[in-house]
Amino acid sequence: LFPRWTSPSRASSPLPYLLALITGCGSSSTDDGAPHGSTSATSSTSTDATTTSTTSGGAGGAGTGAYEDNFVQLDRWSKANGSPVNWSALTAELLDVKRLDSYVYVCTSTRGLVVVNPDPLRIAGQIDPLPYASRCQHLAKSGDLVAISNRSDAKSPTPFVSLLDLTDLAAPVTVSTYVSPSDSPEDVAFLTPDLLAVAMHGGGLALMALDGSGQLAVQKTLGGFTNAWDLALDQGRLYVADDTGGVAIVDVSTPSAPVLLSHVALGGSVKHVTIGDGMLFASAGSSGIHVLSLADPDHPALLSTFDTPGSAVMSEYDNGHLYVADWNEVRIVDVGDGTAPKLLGTETVPSKTFTRVLALAALDDRAFVGEWSALYSYQLFPDKVAPDIALVTPTLLFPQTPAGGESALSLVVANEGPQPLRIESIQGTDELVPLVDSLVVPSGGKDYIEVRFRPATSGAVEADLVLTTDDPDETVVKVYASGNQPGLQVGDQLPSWSWLDLQSGQTITTSGLLGDVVVLSYFATF
């Protein structure tokens, strides 16, 4: 889990939250004076939330339930549907998904490499454990050979690249494994059936092949990279996602003698590249997706950049559409000629815990989505139109509020579909009280639902705010709400703590941070 830092290259937008601790219950108006929601608007208390809101009155015009969703779940594969293999739905963490030949190949964090029949989703084979762990970070395939990689992290500290022969899925054979504790192998790509390119982070690009004794070994390395993450091969050129260095172009027309040609500087941290229809798509986390033309393959030209609400982890292009794994949802974009990509749909993938989409594959309008705990298949119907609810504030986490007191938050709701969104009912509890009972959000718009937390006691509270909508695949949306949880809250003073900075060797103290604006970001290396 990488710390997800914001990028200064992306335009900022106003804080969409309303957070007002109320004990006496004041009132104020919205910044544009427009009513929000269908009832109780006059009693709403607002600070800056309306900077992103839109007027909902009078929008609509289409009947409830008149639309069809354009991204429909077909199947879900996990432990539940009859697999005999060793699989924990909660800990699998799907890291790479590829649709190759007649199967879907899935790299998992704790259950090795899984080969899945696509329709319906059923396991065809599983290689677990892998030579040094069960963690498969990336994969590439050439004929019956599959190369897998694993960089070093907490769950699998031994970095390795392994070559597997999957001629017989029931009896896979490890051909050879390369291990070097000083390396961090990330993505892999076959340049030829016998020559493997490996992105090695700060170690640049490594070419590996079987040596005379049948051992996978580095044949050549190529430097000049900032931080090589991911690889995409196209017509004798290898494009390298090079982090803050942008995209590097490597001439591999003579595979054994690669030449680094140039870099294209792009905003953000580029960690994935994919290619389709003469375009390259560079996923740059919080900086979104960069679309480049490969009309001149040695000098890719930026066509456009579009942002996503999450973190653009990776993407795959198919049939004019780009499917984006955006950390906590899938986004489907109509790419067109690349100059003006248009959002076609979004999908929050179901999860047993908290949804995470880290990898996906697409072929012929069919998408295979690697959620945290399961593999899903979806069918895209590009011509169908529907409202599409998106929660800008996915949870409502109220501050400490005394018994008998009141605090307020706004649930910001967006409609990313081409038709008006009708929220037909909004239901809370005695302690979780929405101030409106319905809402209409126009296509492309946002609005908010103000919610009051009125605890009967000072104890911790959890509840769901339940919305019923005419979004065809999210007719019931439950919004998790919580209040009075113990621990440090907004407004509290930072306690006296200290840490050892592993970068500088100096001690960091919270008192020493006074005078600076500070972000504490908790992470884990997996």
Binding site: A154, D501, L514, Y522
Partner: protein, 83 residues
């Protein structure tokens, strides 16, 4: 400041793994192993993911934002409001 919880504290990482992570990601800001002194101190609803967890602190040491999910715009706005 990037903070990872050490193995002995119920987390996953030790200093060596964090150093590897620094090399893999190229981050330049301070990175440290949290030995339990802070990670469990935050108000944390039980039904949400332990990561991400991002905290914004103002110049006087007061907590101005606790973000439990990836919300880049919110995080950026909170920081910029303090600058």
């Amino acid at each position: 400041v990037g903070l990872s919880q050490g193995n002995a504290q119920g987390g996953y990482d030790d200093a060596g793994l964090i150093q590897t992570f620094i090399a893999q990601t190229g981050v330049t800001f301070p990175m440290a192993e949290d030995f339990g002194q802070s990670f469990s101190s935050w108000a944390r609803p039980p039904a949400i993911s332990p990561f991400p967890l991002d905290i914004v602190i103002d110049r006087e040491g007061k907590i101005v934002l606790i973000a439990y999910e990836y919300e880049a715009d919110v995080l950026r706005a909170a920081v910029e409001a303090e600058l």
